[in-house]
Point group: C2
Chain length 383, copies 2
């Protein structure tokens, strides 16, 4: 009586962890929650009254124009007519699923990759072909083999400060990925919520800016630089795909919240925007360094990790191969939360012993205490 | 390379008409736009700063509690744990599609019915079985035959001031529909955006309040009583379906805009809420009466219609059978917009000669002028 996709519906784990982390006294390294103390003010008292009425599906013109400007500055030629405002970047993923995926559709993804994207693609019936990630990106021979053998409907990549790994594709890798997608004519879906959270000087031209002919969809967010509670993100797309995304958006929720679009447009255009980003980067870089020090102090000999050049996460591989979902249960008993690594792997055969640690939300003292406790729990873990 | 559902993607007509109606000097009877002059103030300067952070998928607890209270007052026992806040009522329809519909899934709908619901169900591949509507609702023998022959996944009904017809199911029809759905065990999806826009005293207990055992989903909106630009609606559901809807919502956009939820909660709980509804009803009743008088003056002998007891629309059947999509083109040349009837019929074989006229948005003078012009256009229409 229900759709067959309901058998593929997941998502309880994350909601359970996030619900738990709202309890008093819990140190959470689980979610990707931005720090409240560096969020901009929520200044909505000047919202024009005409925004109470229905709006257009595409979104508010001023906001679309500012987003297009930003993409042009990154080298991705894009007119405002190619920008669609979404109800959070997650909605962009839902629209991508609807656009491309039927049961059995081959989809190329990184492994590990963003678990909420995997869940959405899986819900619609995607068959995953996974490209193992290294700190400089995906392997070109792997990519070539996968593109040739499976003719995927699209490649979903998070090249800049990837979730969960924190890895950032190197410049040459970006160029080579673009070349291969062009040659295969396979659409790129490039997800970039973390682009502005950059703590080191690294090359990070969007791959869609390097494409010559392949169709592309670029997903952007205001949740990390602005505030997530407004649920405002955007999709930009090549002209062949854009009108289809607009019609899918219309069927999904008509259009996005208008006061939030007004806020995002003012935020992007405000004279303090650059200074705000700098404040955000300084704060998160410092948090990252606090966590790096705590990891070195407490987890050396127990695990390996890279220091991310941006984003919100450390991706930690334990030396012992254990189910981190079971480890999480133990940690929750000690009021520590993290994200188990298993759900980030799209393959059935999920590597064990990985965990994702967020460094933006907990304070400096909590990071030190939390990592110390976590190390004790790992040491005492049976098996 | 695209999903096969993209072949079934529709929606250009409505967006084109709505884009046209934003032009200066156009008299629009097309959309279901509420009148700006009776909208509540958009008072967002007190939004608590913690609402900038991510929220829960289910929605803000105070708002969910107020909505549950409202349903309890209507006779539908419902706890706040059965209420999910959506990004507009349209998102409820998207979630219903995802919950139930695979290509070929039989779905029971009224004919005519809400075209954006038809478009969403169609996108997911629904096979429609249509129940002809009369001013007192659907026919019981029809319903019995359809339930028995097709075993639909659900019945989608708009019993109160239906869109597009304006019809309101009689009390006995409501009871009998509930009895039959219980007997067949077929879920009810009850869509009620117009419930509060009631201009006469009519019986309108929600059908879901009369069910004994069938699963149910109730779709509600703040777009007609509050303001549509916030995109806030809700879904309430029986306990078997509710957790699935929450997980589908999580995959769709994580959660809805939090300042808008805060606003809706204050609006529902404000001492002026009842007086606001009364003002809205008085204004729209008066507009309805202006349109009824204009129709009687100009369209008598050309068409038939009922006077709706609530909602936002007259459903007009021309005496001549003509394609109202072609008539619309002619009307647009005279700066008059309306909604052609054809897309409201879910069947392939679409009856011609119907049009939907909205009476909430245009002013009194514009209604009189617009209907007079429309009558001239119909008289002069070739064929």
């Amino acid at each position: 009586m229900l759709s067959e996709r309901i058998q593929r519906l997941s998502g309880n784990l994350i909601r359970e962890i996030l619900a738990f982390t709202q309890r008093e006294g819990v140190i959470s390294f689980a979610g990707g929650l931005p720090a409240m103390e560096v969020m901009p003010d929520l200044d909505l008292d000047q919202v024009p009254p005409q925004l109470r009425q229905y709006g257009t599906t595409e979104g508010e013109p001023e906001l679309r124009a500012r987003i297009a400007e930003g993409l042009n500055r990154l080298g991705r030629a894009c007119s405002p007519d190619q920008v669609l405002i979404t109800s959070g970047s997650q909605q962009g993923i839902d629209l991508v699923s609807k656009l491309f995926i039927d049961p059995g559709t081959p989809v190329l993804v990184e492994t590990p990759t963003y678990l909420a994207a995997v869940q959405s693609f899986h819900l619609f019936g995607a068959r995953f072909f996974a490209l193992p990630l290294s700190p400089s990106g995906i392997d070109q021979d792997d990519l070539h083999a996968r593109l040739t053998a499976h003719r995927p409907a699209f490649a979903y990549l998070i090249p800049t400060f990837q979730n969960p790994s924190g890895y950032c594709y190197s410049g040459p890798t970006r160029i080579e990925v673009a070349r291969q997608l062009d040659a295969a004519g396979v659409p790129l879906v490039e997800d970039e919520p973390y682009r502005e959270l950059r703590y080191e000087s690294v090359e990070c031209t969007p791959i869609c800016a390097l494409l010559a002919s392949a169709p592309w969809i670029y997903l952007g967010s205001f949740s990390k630089t602005g505030m997530p509670g407004l649920r405002i993100g955007y999709v930009a797309a090549s002209p062949d795909l854009y009108p289809l995304l607009v019609r899918l958006k219309q069927a999904a929720d008509l259009h996005s919240n208008r006061p939030a679009q007004w806020w995002a447009s003012r935020f992007l255009g405000s004279p303090g925007y650059s200074a705000h980003l700098q404040r955000l980067r300084d704060r998160y870089r410092s948090r990252r360094d606090v966590m790096a020090a705590a990891l070195a102090r407490h987890l050396s000999g127990l695990a390996r990790w890279e220091i991310p050049a941006g984003g919100l996460f450390f991706w930690v591989q334990l030396n012992r191969v254990l189910d981190t979902r079971v480890l999480l249960k133990k940690a929750l008993e000690h009021d520590i939360a993290f994200m188990p690594g298993e759900p980030f792997f799209p393959d059935e055969d999920r590597p064990r012993g990985f965990l994702r640690l967020n460094f933006s939300h907990a304070g400096d003292d909590a990071i030190e205490r939390g990592i110390a406790t976590l190390a004790q729990i790992i040491r005492g873990f049976p098996g």
